[in-house]
Symmetry: C2
Subunit: 538 residues, 2 copies
Amino acid sequence: MPTKARANLETLYRIFTVPEAPDSTLGAVDQAITADVAGFLQNHIVAMERPLEEIEASFSSVTIPEEPTYVSDYTEFVKENLVAQSVHTASPGFIGHMTSALPYFMLPLTRLMTALNQNTVKVETSKAFTPLERQVLAMLHHLIYRCPDEFYPSWIHNSQAALGAFCSGGTIANTTALWVARNRFFAPDGAFRGIAQEGLARALKHRGVDGIAVLVSERGHYSLGKAADLLGVGRDHLVKVKTAEDNRIDLKALRQECQRLQDQNIRPLALVGIGGTTETGNIDPLEAMADLARELDCHFHVDAAWGGPTLFSDRHRHLLAGIERADSVTIDAHKQLYVPMGAGMVLFRDPTAVSAIEHHAAYILRHGSKDLGSHTLEGSRPGKALLVHAGLSIMGRKGYELLIDLGIERARTFAGMIRQHPDFELTSEPELNILTYRYCPAAIQHLLATAPQAEQARINGLLDQVCQLLQKHQRESGKTFVSRTRLRMSRYGEEITVLRSVLANPLTTDEILTSVLSEQCEIVRQPEIQALLQQVWR
Amino acid sequence: MPTKARANLETLYRIFTVPEAPDSTLGAVDQAITADVAGFLQNHIVAMERPLEEIEASFSSVTIPEEPTYVSDYTEFVKENLVAQSVHTASPGFIGHMTSALPYFMLPLTRLMTALNQNTVKVETSKAFTPLERQVLAMLHHLIYRCPDEFYPSWIHNSQAALGAFCSGGTIANTTALWVARNRFFAPDGAFRGIAQEGLARALKHRGVDGIAVLVSERGHYSLGKAADLLGVGRDHLVKVKTAEDNRIDLKALRQECQRLQDQNIRPLALVGIGGTTETGNIDPLEAMADLARELDCHFHVDAAWGGPTLFSDRHRHLLAGIERADSVTIDAHKQLYVPMGAGMVLFRDPTAVSAIEHHAAYILRHGSKDLGSHTLEGSRPGKALLVHAGLSIMGRKGYELLIDLGIERARTFAGMIRQHPDFELTSEPELNILTYRYCPAAIQHLLATAPQAEQARINGLLDQVCQLLQKHQRESGKTFVSRTRLRMSRYGEEITVLRSVLANPLTTDEILTSVLSEQCEIVRQPEIQALLQQVWR
């Protein structure tokens, strides 16, 4: 072998071998990266002020480098161009999206999980991670359904069944739930071999229906639209039912929509109740929806991606009453279970429900094997269930309860501050730990209260622009962060733009909440925004 | 606040705060975990000998613990019950599945990625990770399609388009590709608002076809069956075309199947070429398939989840000739890009193709935003593109080339060993770095060569049992590991069970390959297996 090729091979072996001492080259780089991260995380700035277009310039070459680079040179690049230009989603001043500080132990355990590099699709590449994942699903199943103790031993490690599916996030969880619902409705029946085999068109013909529909409130997560598209249902048949002022589904409207569909020979396949809407954190009347689903004999799914962990709280659990009647429930681990990004779950009340989506292959997932992959939408998957297991074991129910209670309390505190502030209008009351509001000084609030509809629309249009600019400037200045969305407010009869705050970081203090509002009052003094506000009075 | 509640809160703050010094409690636990992992990885045993049922006993409680536990106690539990009971997928003797040792720098960078906890669904929670991910997709696009330099600047960071989609793995990548193909075929057209909106049943009616079909060889990955089910196509219409002796699709049979479908008014939606079959590593005749797809005016997808990185190799790139004519290509990053589990990609030749699955929401993914989530199947996602970026930057094209060349060379070496060994039969020649073989002593090979079909079937049935037991015992003894699958062999006219070896770990030496075979010769001496072999001669 020529000398150069041999040298290359030796480098390769070195790079694939775990260093024995931390003072070896790779060990030192490892320590430096850990120190840099600690530095970034201890910093409370949300983001460096640098336009996206400028950052893009550092990531614009499309040619894969020919030659290798030193790890240390690369990490210098990463530190400057990536870490420094990231959004500090764990900052206590970042209260705009569903991200938070992480329990510190998640970092070394993620490293452990990565180093083991198990693939939970099959036992042959995961072994102990398979029973661990099944246990985690059972724990969450128990949290939701409270089945008697004697229920679990026959199901928890049963190769023919699954109490749920672990996946990369809520979108896959919701899609899996509706996939199961669809395939169960069109199950094999006599000569009909089921929708999985024969496809949707023949399935509709077999059942003699002209379409299938999924019903959810207008606050439903956008993933349901994707699922309706993917599954061939069509977005037209993801029926978005209007909500009452409290952002919960209007039950009367829901009934009417179901009737309308049935009159058109379209079968309501599933009702989806929301356990914490993404935008406002409200919870649908789950008991009543469960009743209706039973009456219609259709699947009842609860999207509790955000709010599911409210079940940990003795004080607030009652808000989710009825969830135990759902056929399936989505819970995101990377939200209020405080697991790093990329972990979701769907739980099924009936552990045999997943047989509707069962699949096999010759080299893995053989009949009778305990391979988790035979009941999941995804294939190869990392052992992320470890991180949920760690959170539940280390923090315990009481630890999570504290986080839930703290978030709800803090949201109420923030709502109080907004209500008392003369320049802001609370646009949704926090039921959980999410609220919305907007900049709308008291005088304008009074004006709006008595203005005719056309005038209301004109003023709200201006306030929408104020809101949008305010959120943009605050994001760009990088000290604190709230998000924005649009909500239909029945008091105005139209959609308005609002600021949205999610309070899930235990490090967020009342002082930080005060500073968010005062920074916003500062920003609105800008001439551009003042000009818009003056137009209100014209 | 009562003292106990305050103490709880303080613990919570501590657990959510990054330790400043490594000798703090959490810092020490962190170091201990790192040391444990290093210990595990330096160990060359594949798995501890312990039955799954016993391991399950450690993961059987369904009650979430009430009280918190010390991190150090938990990590002790993990070390004993999880790490020690895991499969050492990075062991150089683990040559049965598509796992390998990881380049060491992936570990600290995964930790960095986890600590930053960016969510690439939207710029507001990812910032620099958004352009980074787009760059990675552009690099892979360029690797496959080699578009001229002037092509990329207008697309790479274009909010209206995407050169591909990053996802959790090949299954989502393949599903995304077929989803795009389906939605483009049933695009909005006059009064018809497209399949995404109106659903599959109306779409079929609009185009006047009775069904849609996806065609792939019988070696196609099982994820395509899931995709056909999910998308409403039905598994009946995932047409599995037979392969020739070389495990490549039989083009004549493919043409016949297309004709048969068209005669039934079923539209061939997509042809799927395989760039490295999962079981045997063979590559379909991509040029000829591209010709046929053009003739039929249908989508051409290449599933190069495994073999895509062969493009790095000057010597072997030609094997994938024709891939640049594919409409979409799947490449798994957690396979031959040596990224930890949970990273895949699909690339689209036409950067506007993804508009067929575009979606929006009020709080994110707004029209005109650069949010990556508007064109992905998944929602919230971690910044795993960093790890691909790191691999490409640190190892360079030449580093990956070395890995590819080494794997193929080693597979040829192993094939040579098997061919020369009197007791084994090579059942598929390695085209890439995967091969299959079985235990079948020369005398039995001779017997089979002249035996009538019924006798062949009887003997192969016995050899199947030998193969299954051999693989099981080898797995259980935990020193080395190969997998098994079933392949239809035209020389026997039926399916037989074979051992499968994947050679992608640069630390696997020729000595290890020799030891795999000698361990197998050792195992077959067991009375149970000898009894089966004796039955051959009855």
